[in-house]
């Protein structure tokens, strides 16, 4: 699992079940969670940084401006005092040179004097003294007050901050230029470090938010899927149970008329064999035999139906799995040998505490083995493996190399009367009975199949049988052939009549 997978929900690309779990749009949920949490977590951070940024900037600017203004003011004061004694331009120049020495001048920090027309009277880095250079004079109108600071654009296009102070008693004004960028260095560089820190934290926060949202929504997704699977499972089980109820009711009702046919035909046979009377037709006896055969078949089917829906308290007892498997395989061995099928049984771990209903387990193995042999028809391998996956669970795998089950058929195989066999004995109840028995034991069965490759049934059975209470207590239909009012003995409320003796 790459780190990217932790950030992206597993269901993102292929939403199963039309992407909507019972009204839960998980994609939208994920987006909403990420968006809201990001806004909540990041906006205070960003706002605080921005406020801090602008505050620092303003403070530093104000401070440096004040300092510049103060120093200019002081210089101008000194110059004014000196010039009051000696009001000559040479004096002014001397004073300026002194001031230049004091200030750390350069192109970034320019100090010069201008007269009342705005022409520089001393050399400047940005404003030449020589009118031949064609440089325009400073716009004197900007320097309206005794001193102050204004933004200026020098002739060579540099944005500067100009501090000025008029020298009292003279037409001269002391001007200091400072590049606007120069200030930036003061506050921007430390701030940039902060900015980096901010960016890194934003990325980290976003990643963790996405990771968390993915995890949470993934959990919702999984549990939702599990819930739906459980619902499907339950629905399936319920359907099987109701089919079982119907089936056993039908079987019970059919048994009565079936035995009438059975006995009447038997009587015909008896009359023909015991009576020694005249045989009306030679074919009569074989015909009656055919009827009896058919009755036997019907009887087998009704018995299977009743097995499927049987309602009996299984006698839970310690069971040796190996023994039961051997017993089941012994019953199918002949059939397997005839079809050239090899039976492989893997090493069976000893599960001494395994408990269940022995006959149910036997029937489960028998049904699965018969099913596998039928699927293979001829030549193939039937393998049974038993492993203990958990302390409280035994996993049994029964696989064959038969014709397999198509994906369309797969969901139907545990339904009663579903059969792929065309011969007359396949009532399609084997797997349905198996399913019912496993459910009764509190176990589960799953099937995987590939057409042409084979089928694998995986059973999980609890080591200690936890019997599931079956809802189908009375598996009877109302008896239709009893006249109304005579009272059905099968209904719980239909109290049997008091004996008349």
């Amino acid at each position: 699992m790459t780190p990217l997978h932790r950030l992206k929900p597993a269901f993102w690309d292929h939403m199963d079940d039309s992407g909507n779990y019972g009204g839960l749009n998980l994609k939208r949920k994920w987006k909403l969670i990420v968006l809201l949490t990001s806004i909540l977590a990041l906006s205070p951070l960003i706002i605080m940084t921005l406020v801090d940024f602008s505050l620092t900037r303003r403070t530093i600017e104000t401070e440096s401006n004040t300092r510049m203004q103060n120093s200019l003011h002081t210089l101008a004061g000194i110059m004014a005092a000196a010039m009051a004694d000696n009001p000559s331009s040479s004096c002014a120049e001397t004073l300026w040179q002194k001031a230049l020495h004091q200030l750390n001048t350069g192109p970034d920090n320019d100090l010069f004097l201008i007269d009342d027309t705005g022409e520089p009277v001393t050399p400047s880095f940005h404003y030449g003294k020589d009118p031949d250079t064609g440089q325009t004079a400073l716009d004197i109108s900007r320097f309206s007050q005794a001193d102050g600071i204004v933004d200026l654009q020098t002739p060579d296009g540099t944005a500067v901050l100009a501090g000025y102070a008029k020298i009292k008693g003279t037409p001269l004004t002391l001007v200091q230029l400072r590049q606007a960028d120069w200030l930036k260095d003061l506050w921007l560089k430390p701030r940039l470090k902060m900015l980096w820190f901010l960016c890194v934290s934003i990325v980290l926060i976003l990643l963790s938010i996405m990771g968390m949202a993915t995890y949470l929504v993934g959990r919702i997704h999984t549990s939702e899927r599990r819930r739906i699977e459980a619902l499907h499972h339950e629905e399936h089980a319920n359907r099987l149970a109701s089919i079982g109820r119907l089936a056993s009711g039908v079987a019970h009702e059919i048994n009565n008329p079936l035995d009438i046919i059975n006995q009447k035909t038997g009587l015909i046979v008896d009359l023909l064999t015991f009576g020694k009377g005249q045989w009306p037709d030679q074919r009569l006896l074989p015909l009656a035999g055919d009827v009896l055969d058919a009755v036997k078949r019907c009887g087998t089917i009704t018995r299977q139906l009743l097995d499927f829906a049987r309602h009996m308290e299984p006698s839970v007892e310690p069971v040796n799995i190996e023994e039961v498997i051997a017993q089941a395989l012994a019953l199918v061995e002949t059939d397997a040998r005839q079809r050239d099928i090899v039976i492989q049984v893997g090493p069976i771990p000893a599960v001494p505490e395994f408990e269940c209903d022995r006959s149910s387990l036997l029937q489960i193995f028998l049904n699965l083995a018969e099913n596998a042999i039928t699927a293979m028809e001829s030549k193939g391998i039937l393998s049974i493996e038993v492993s203990r996956t958990r302390t409280d669970q035994v996993t049994i795998t029964v696989s064959d190399t038969g014709k397999g089950i198509s994906p369309e058929e797969l969901p139907k195989i545990f339904e009663p009367f579903y059969t792929s066999r065309s011969d007359r004995w396949g009532a399609g109840l084997g797997l349905a009975i198996t399913y019912g028995l496993i459910q009764e034991m509190g176990g589960d069965i799953s099937v995987k199949s590939k057409v042409g490759k084979g089928t694998r049934f995986v059973l999980t059975l609890p080591v200690k049988a936890t019997r599931q209470p079956t809802a189908d207590g009375a598996l009877h239909l109302p008896k239709s052939d009893i006249p109304a009012g005579s009272g059905s003995q099968d209904s719980p409320q239909g109290e049997p009549d008091v004996p008349r003796q």
Binding site: H252, E253, I254, N255, N256, L258, D259, I260, I261, N262, Q263, K264, G266, L267, D270, L271, F274, V295, K296, C298, G299, R303, L306, R310, H311, M312, E313, G473, A474, L475, H476, K479, I482, P483, S486, G487, Q489, D490, P492, E495, P496, D497, P499, R500, Q501
Partner: protein, 159 residues
């Protein structure tokens, strides 16, 4: 088979000269008449009645050696008949033959002292064999009347 019937049935012929006396109780008249005729053909003195009270009256007046009863009958059901017969005539062997057999029914019937339990459709030979077999072990089995468990006398354990 028929020889067996005579040989093992010899000491049972206290009630009838015709052979083993069997009473069939079932509300399915067609069925029970056919079955009774078939048993008669196998040298048994079979009679058919169609409800519980008649059967009990027959038992009083003309006790059979074997009774074959259905469980589900209108009026009085097979369980009640079985219980009554076990109380009044513990020597009579009762075979239950029903189309509505659940495991619980089988258990109940066996607990109440039924000798055998069959589910329809039944094979006549199987039934015959069972009748003979149970008559063979009769003396020992019937010497223990405690076969009947009074705890089941609670209106029937049927669901």
């Amino acid at each position: 088979m028929e020889c067996n019937t005579r040989r093992h049935g010899d000491h049972q012929r206290k009630h009838s000269d015709m052979g083993l006396r069997i009473l069939l109780v079932d509300d399915e008249q067609e069925f029970v008449e056919a079955l009774s005729e078939r048993l008669q053909m196998r040298d048994m003195d079979a009679h058919a009645v169609f409800d519980g009270p008649t059967a009990l009256a027959q038992v009083q007046s003309h006790p059979p050696q074997v009774m074959i009863i259905d469980l589900k009958m209108p009026g009085m059901d097979g369980i009640q008949v079985l219980r009554q017969v076990r109380q009044t005539h513990p020597l009579i062997r009762v075979i239950v033959l029903t189309g509505h057999g659940s495991e619980q029914d089988r258990k109940n019937c066996m607990d109440l002292g039924a000798s055998a339990y069959f589910q329809k459709p039944v094979d006549i030979d199987e039934l015959n064999t069972t009748i003979q077999k149970h008559l063979e072990n009769e003396p020992t089995a019937l010497s223990a009347p405690g076969h009947f468990d009074p705890s089941f006398d609670t209106g029937g354990g049927r669901t």
